[in-house]
Symmetry: C2
Subunit: 342 residues, 2 copies
DNA sequence: GGCATTCTTGGTAGCGCTACCATTCGAAAC
DNA sequence: GTTTCGAATGGTAGCGCTACCAAGAATGCC
């Protein structure tokens, strides 16, 4: 005995409902939807009419199962609240909003293990592309990326050995540029203050070290770091620590703008003149840097653009033409402001 | 002629590979994985061994197709970069990281139309639950939510008529509390400065109006708003506008902390004494408010907790026991700080 | 001991879609 | 005129999993 269409799935219209209504084969509907050029104009119109009338929406799960490929971009970032990654993610979303691709976002919490877990999980969905932050994947993660069977874009940084493609900039150069700017402005006892100290911060620190050594100003006591998550209040505390350790400090290069802002507030509170007594440089150039009082010198990075570019490259690779340039360096810009205008 | 296992899907192990290896039926493996209690301990062990050996990972697409239910939470927020929503989203991610559920995040850009589109899209995946920001859905969106066939949680606000469940607080009360605090502190010509003016900001403004009217201080020229996206630089500009319009201004309630920070910076720049000449109150209480100089009074909201609570409620509903309390008000807290200590 | 009841396990038949192959038909090629 | 080819369409057979039902084993009850 045949059950009278007791559809398990809640009775939404399916591809064959559309086919029946349009008087064509199911496969033709499938084609009309995915690759209209391969279906005659007349049928295309009939099918479109049937789709509209029934309110048919394709089932992405069935599609993914049948084609062994999901229309999903996997995106892995270390933090959701850090404005820097939020901007990258926004760029990715904006670039993908008109495409059929969905986004699967994962938060690694700066943990390599968590990254592996998420990569494993995302892989099980056979994503169309993978975008991951950073270039310091664990060996296992790297293997997962290499075997993902889809375009992979590493973002935020550039480096010598991309899994597939890369979009970012050199954090080392950024750190060096920031520090050299302080030196040129006449500061001498320049501290480095860094929170969270992920690989990118480490490279900024390396840039700082390089500049200081070149100038013969190097002194390990000038460096204050912590693995604690970055925040404005933390910036204030670290600055107090730095100052206690080294009262002759006359400048600071901060690992990011939150820290820089914390330093600025502490200077106000302690009546330390900026930029006369202390020069401050941040990193990332959040929009508040330019309105802070005094406005804060910072390294502007192109986060939103990194997201957009990563998607563009992945999309190109999906459609067959791998960009000839596999590593794209979007650079950065030193924004000179009042906080270092001595 | 039968093709010798030319698997379309790249040769990853499947459920029946595991079943064969463990010497059991495929369906038993399925059960062992989803509901271990229904399988004898011995088989469970054998199956687990086979899973581990083969490195089997279930295919979520096949699972979703067969069960007509995807293990996906759909999450819709108006902005990815606004710290407020980023915190909510973080709460959601953290609550779901140990569960089998994935998250599908959508950015509505504060657009009702975009929300409808995304809801339609998300619906086609048959998600396990839907979490949406705000309570002002369009009629079409509301219908989509009602017919989603899954638990729905509206977050950020509370209101009288939930689609299903709600977690948030009263923005009107928040606005009123902030304004009343300024009044009690002795400020009289209190302005409202608001950017972006989404429905939540509108309600904060309504709270401000209520407090001002009750105190007999109401004056429409005290209100400065714009639909432009909120930012710190914008806060500075709006404050200058407000001051130009109403030079006797002696306090401002800002629609959010970004704006408040912009106001504070402008006060510094123009040598306006805070809190003596001008009192400032923000909204949300970002962590930098407490270290700003002077520290800024703000309405602390529990964004992360809202995310966690929303997930907890959705999870409860999924597992059958709908919470008796469908609307949860997490409240807010007035944080009195230097910026209003006259 | 017989019978109902529960617990475990397995088989079958899809879920909604697409890959692959087959067919038809008209136009171009010879 | 026959062959060849390509474009347009359709049929079949799954993709990997689970809902549903059935059956056997174990348990409880009188």
């Amino acid at each position: 005995m045949i059950k009278p269409r007791s559809r398990r799935g809640g009775g939404r219209p399916t591809l064959s409902d559309v086919a029946r209504k349009a008087g064509v084969g199911a496969i033709t509907v499938s084609r009309a939807l995915r690759d209209p050029a391969r279906v005659s104009e007349e049928l295309r119109r009939q099918i479109q009419a049937a789709v509209d009338e029934l309110g048919y929406v394709p089932d992405p799960n069935a599609r993914a199962l049948a084609s062994a490929r999901a229309e999903v971009f996997g995106v892995l970032v270390p933090s959701l609240t850090n404005n820097v990654f939020a901007e990258v993610v926004r760029g990715i979303y904006d670039s993908l909003s008109d495409s059929p691709f969905r986004i699967q976002l994962g938060n690694t919490h700066y943990s390599g293990l968590e990254e592996e877990r998420l990569l494993q999980l995302f892989g099980s969905q056979r994503p169309a592309a993978l975008i991951v932050a950073g270039i310091d994947q664990t060996t296992a993660s790297r293997k997962l990326l290499e075997n993902a069977g889809c375009p992979v874009v590493q973002v935020m940084e550039t480096g010598p050995d991309p899994v597939d493609m890369m979009v970012g900039f050199s954090h080392l150069d950024g750190g060096r540029t920031a520090t050299e700017h302080l030196i040129e402005a006449g500061y001498r006892r320049i501290g480095f203050i860094g929170a969270r100290m992920d690989p990118r911060s480490q490279r900024r620190l390396a840039g700082y070290r390089m500049a200081m050594e070149n100038a013969g100003l190097s002194d390990p006591r000038l460096i204050t770091t912590t693995p604690v998550l970055s925040s404005v209040p933390l910036g204030r505390e670290l600055f107090r620590d730095a100052l206690a350790k080294m009262p002759t400090l006359d400048g600071v290069f901060c690992n990011n703008d939150d820290i820089a802002l914390g330093v600025l507030f502490e200077c106000h509170r302690a009546s330390i003149d900026v930029p006369k007594t202390i020069g401050i440089v941040g990193f990332n150039d959040l929009d508040m840097m330019q309105v802070a009082f005094p406005s804060i010198t910072s390294i502007r990075t192109h986060r939103y653009e990194i997201g957009r570019r990563a998607v563009a490259m992945a999309l190109a690779a999906i459609s067959g033409d791998r960009p000839r340039q596999r590593v794209v360096d979007l650079g950065f810009e030193l924004k000179r402001r009042e906080s270092t205008a001595r």
